[in-house]
Symmetry: D2
Subunit: 339 residues, 4 copies
Amino acid sequence: MIKTAIIGASGYTGAELARLLAQHPQFSLCDLFVSAQSQDAGKKLSELYGRLQGEVELVLQPLAEDALGTLADNYDAVFLATPHQASHDWMPQLTAGRAVIFDLSGAFRLKDKQVFEQYYGFGHQHSALLDNAVYGLADWHQQAISTASLIAVPGCYPTASLTALKPLQQAGLLDSQHWPVINAVSGVSGAGRKATLNSSFCEVSLQPYGVLGHRHQPEISAELGAPVIFTPHLGNFKRGILATITVKVAPGTDTEQVDKAYQQAYGNNPLVRLRQSWPKIDEVAGSCYCDLFWKLDPDSGYLVVASAIDNLLKGAAAQALQCANLRFNFQPQTALVQE
Amino acid sequence: MIKTAIIGASGYTGAELARLLAQHPQFSLCDLFVSAQSQDAGKKLSELYGRLQGEVELVLQPLAEDALGTLADNYDAVFLATPHQASHDWMPQLTAGRAVIFDLSGAFRLKDKQVFEQYYGFGHQHSALLDNAVYGLADWHQQAISTASLIAVPGCYPTASLTALKPLQQAGLLDSQHWPVINAVSGVSGAGRKATLNSSFCEVSLQPYGVLGHRHQPEISAELGAPVIFTPHLGNFKRGILATITVKVAPGTDTEQVDKAYQQAYGNNPLVRLRQSWPKIDEVAGSCYCDLFWKLDPDSGYLVVASAIDNLLKGAAAQALQCANLRFNFQPQTALVQE
Amino acid sequence: MIKTAIIGASGYTGAELARLLAQHPQFSLCDLFVSAQSQDAGKKLSELYGRLQGEVELVLQPLAEDALGTLADNYDAVFLATPHQASHDWMPQLTAGRAVIFDLSGAFRLKDKQVFEQYYGFGHQHSALLDNAVYGLADWHQQAISTASLIAVPGCYPTASLTALKPLQQAGLLDSQHWPVINAVSGVSGAGRKATLNSSFCEVSLQPYGVLGHRHQPEISAELGAPVIFTPHLGNFKRGILATITVKVAPGTDTEQVDKAYQQAYGNNPLVRLRQSWPKIDEVAGSCYCDLFWKLDPDSGYLVVASAIDNLLKGAAAQALQCANLRFNFQPQTALVQE
Amino acid sequence: MIKTAIIGASGYTGAELARLLAQHPQFSLCDLFVSAQSQDAGKKLSELYGRLQGEVELVLQPLAEDALGTLADNYDAVFLATPHQASHDWMPQLTAGRAVIFDLSGAFRLKDKQVFEQYYGFGHQHSALLDNAVYGLADWHQQAISTASLIAVPGCYPTASLTALKPLQQAGLLDSQHWPVINAVSGVSGAGRKATLNSSFCEVSLQPYGVLGHRHQPEISAELGAPVIFTPHLGNFKRGILATITVKVAPGTDTEQVDKAYQQAYGNNPLVRLRQSWPKIDEVAGSCYCDLFWKLDPDSGYLVVASAIDNLLKGAAAQALQCANLRFNFQPQTALVQE
């Protein structure tokens, strides 16, 4: 059994991670940590999340920030569902031990330190770790993930967007003169478990935000290797992301080529479903799948592809566990889909 | 024109008051005040509420708490959409001037100071004001309201509940051995405009709260003159309250008597609608009506009556304005229903 | 492996049954049937429910209504997620074979044929079957279920209500002069998968229905052995039921006695969770639990207990499978909770 | 007073029209008609829409389809909230009389009959009427509308999209090599008041539809004078449309030019609000405004503009009434905004 801990377990992503790990046949979820300052320290996770009663009965322990190295050395795997800056600051200590680190924050996703500082608001101090960190887009970097010691699990929007775009890019089907236009709508859980006016029930209503300046835009562009326009929206639902992506295809591209690109990329992937109709949020909410569907208008050369995931699962916790499955040599879908 | 100000205008109730007053033909909404500490001071109300752009363009002014008497003397009417304790503490000063005060807090609703302290957590210091305050259940106390100088506008749950129960009580149709059982569900706006985890989008889901201990239970009982069991719930919608009330009627009561009781109470009231079918939240949301429907099972002697209002309107701002209409001798429904 | 079929598999309950059975280690879901007239015949279930792609890939077969006996004889277990009248009419043939029948309709729940006809609109023709049918309230009738050949799985409202009320009744804690008042709110999936104006998105808003005349009222009363007032509501959510129940307790009852009654009934039951706080719909939606919490006001003698379930799971499919687990000698919670 | 009738008054748009007209100081709403086959004939509109009780008390009359000319001659204005084909078939008779016709269907919006047939599924038989019909985009065609006898009121998506795009087009700021990409999400009321599985509560969840083939795409393109990519989505809310539009601007375009284009187009328009922040659905739901906000990235030359309306009001009934205000020489915003 893989000895496992979660740091930052009290948030929405941490709680989903705990739930998934608790039912995994090969991982043994030993400890949950929260910031020592958190008023949740000392409580059971199931006190915060009533739905976990009977499923996860571990207590949230205060994290000893001055002994992270010792801590990490106690486990085979440590998942970080922590703020960007915390992950950044703690990483040198955490990676000193034997544990493989799965970081769900954004601290090690952008290789370009200048871009990082622009979008995250603080400078990156750990170049070597950043260079070694593997981008944990699990359906695409299986090889690198399987030997990594630090895995930077992608954000929810990049996962939805890249799962849709990479097969087209790989097959050379994107017109280079037109940037892909990604419109995405996320459920409110994407904002995390915290008390803010913006995420209070009465204030939530479909609305764009972070337009032409969201930090996931450079993350998507860097991984895709091409610029994109990314416009996120907040939607009036709890979980899920729908990304609707409009691209201009290379001249002469036909539907068969597009189908083939997706089939080659995901035809045998149990976690990406090539659908027969347009995906909807509720068909993926609570699941670990990414659902895809597309349509090409050969006359105009425009293609629309839609991608739907549960932002907390395939867009966070489930992808982290998929990375962990790869890293520890299990089937990637273990404990993620019914078998 | 009636010179008018709102204190506490930045909250949901205050904003609705502002909107209603801005379109009233006889009231002139002159000033909006917020706490001097509020970070909203200096902003336009429409910056907080985008939907008010073009409708209310007043700026939120910092309240000079040390000159409330002077302030109140500048207006004919002052509406308080303020915390209970603020209303309580400020009332001696505010009532010193010429303005009629419409208090939407709970500070002057409960006549029994012992009960008040038990449910509000602080002792009541202003007995004379409390004695003189008129309970602003507008459809029932028109006479008293029309000459009052301090009107304590009822809460949203009491308004929904009492509008349904008082006609039965008045007609002597309630069995005295069985307490009415009030189950009510409120939209999240009832919790006010603030950042709390409980009212954050992802946490809201139908759930009881304040069971057998909510402060509106004694308010309803006192006004009804009989004990009740009141169980509030938070519902996953923004606005509206539905109260479903189960009562045992006096032996021998028939449907005709019940119909007559409601007809006598509200047959000519443009703000209470006796419906032909069970009310639903969305049929009153955004309106100033209270909708009622009922059914009696003569065999068992049980009667179920449902009452629906918009919690921020008939349950707060519109009822306050209905009181103000009465107080200044306008038709009660002025600026509240289309005519 | 238990050979299994579902008749009426295209509805919401049928689809949930299929999903649960597909992941059960001891049941082998062989066939799904729909009415031969249904336009869904010949389609995969996952065409109707995109979320089942990759999870259930069976085709919906047209049911040969003239050969039900032969059909039933092919299976060890047959689940009926069919209209009341269909279950009623087909039952003699279906029960002629070796299959154990789990009927999720209301056809065999009410033992009193006069009451049945009043509430279901047609006379019951199969007295012997009705007499032998076991009421499948799985947490209470384990013994009888374990040997039954026809199990009438209770409706969603009775399950939520009875799980809360039976421990009090068993412990003699209910005052016999006051009828329990059950207010319940159900998600829209309770109305089934069909095109009606009432369940169309824009029409749905919290509203009572079936007041003082719903067919689940006699079902609850019969199983409880005492009259109740039951008021159902339609809520603006997809799944889940919350029942808030107000009872007068027998004179002298204290909190300890109530706690003990629930502890004795469910202290060791993995499917009923005695909560530390008021349950909310989203904490049970998608799960197979029933969540309970209560509060007694010893002064007035009134007790409020709230009960929450997923209406399609604990209130239908999961309870049917719990019955099947009991009937075939597996742990009751097998394939219903994570272990 | 302008004598007015609505044909097709039982639908969502018809009901909103009735509500707006009932409170208009210069229009006298005399009659409401529905299809003679409709089971709603003979009912009051407020029986279908409980929220209209006390506001609109007219009865839905069966339409005499064989005497439409006589009928239309009885009114100064007739509003058609009818199916496309009905509007098409009836128009010759209806336009024979003195009434000005406001058609909310799509029958007379597309001037190109070939495109019309492709997207509406039947051939257009009334070329002269089609030629004379004025496209009722009220903020842009005031002159033509003011003398028209047949006004084809635009659909909800085109209104949201064109209000955002036309100022850019007029100012010459759109790059001609890149097609505007319009992503829009509509509330479910856009599908009308009818019982379909697609619009049933449990089936609704954010999802694209009509991709690269929706009939509003040619409507937008024709009025804009340039091709567009239009991707509609169904959202999980009742009312409102949010269109998020990504365009490439002409080389060298700066923010000041964009601001100026919008200011010139709408600076004095009481029905289009140039916002200070991104619009959200709930800020326009129930109102007659169109809200706009935009951001330009000068480096990449991409501009995102968001446009929000209530689909039943500014996108249907309110725009029809705005057209009627123009046609009968009232202020365009009369009875549409508070004054």
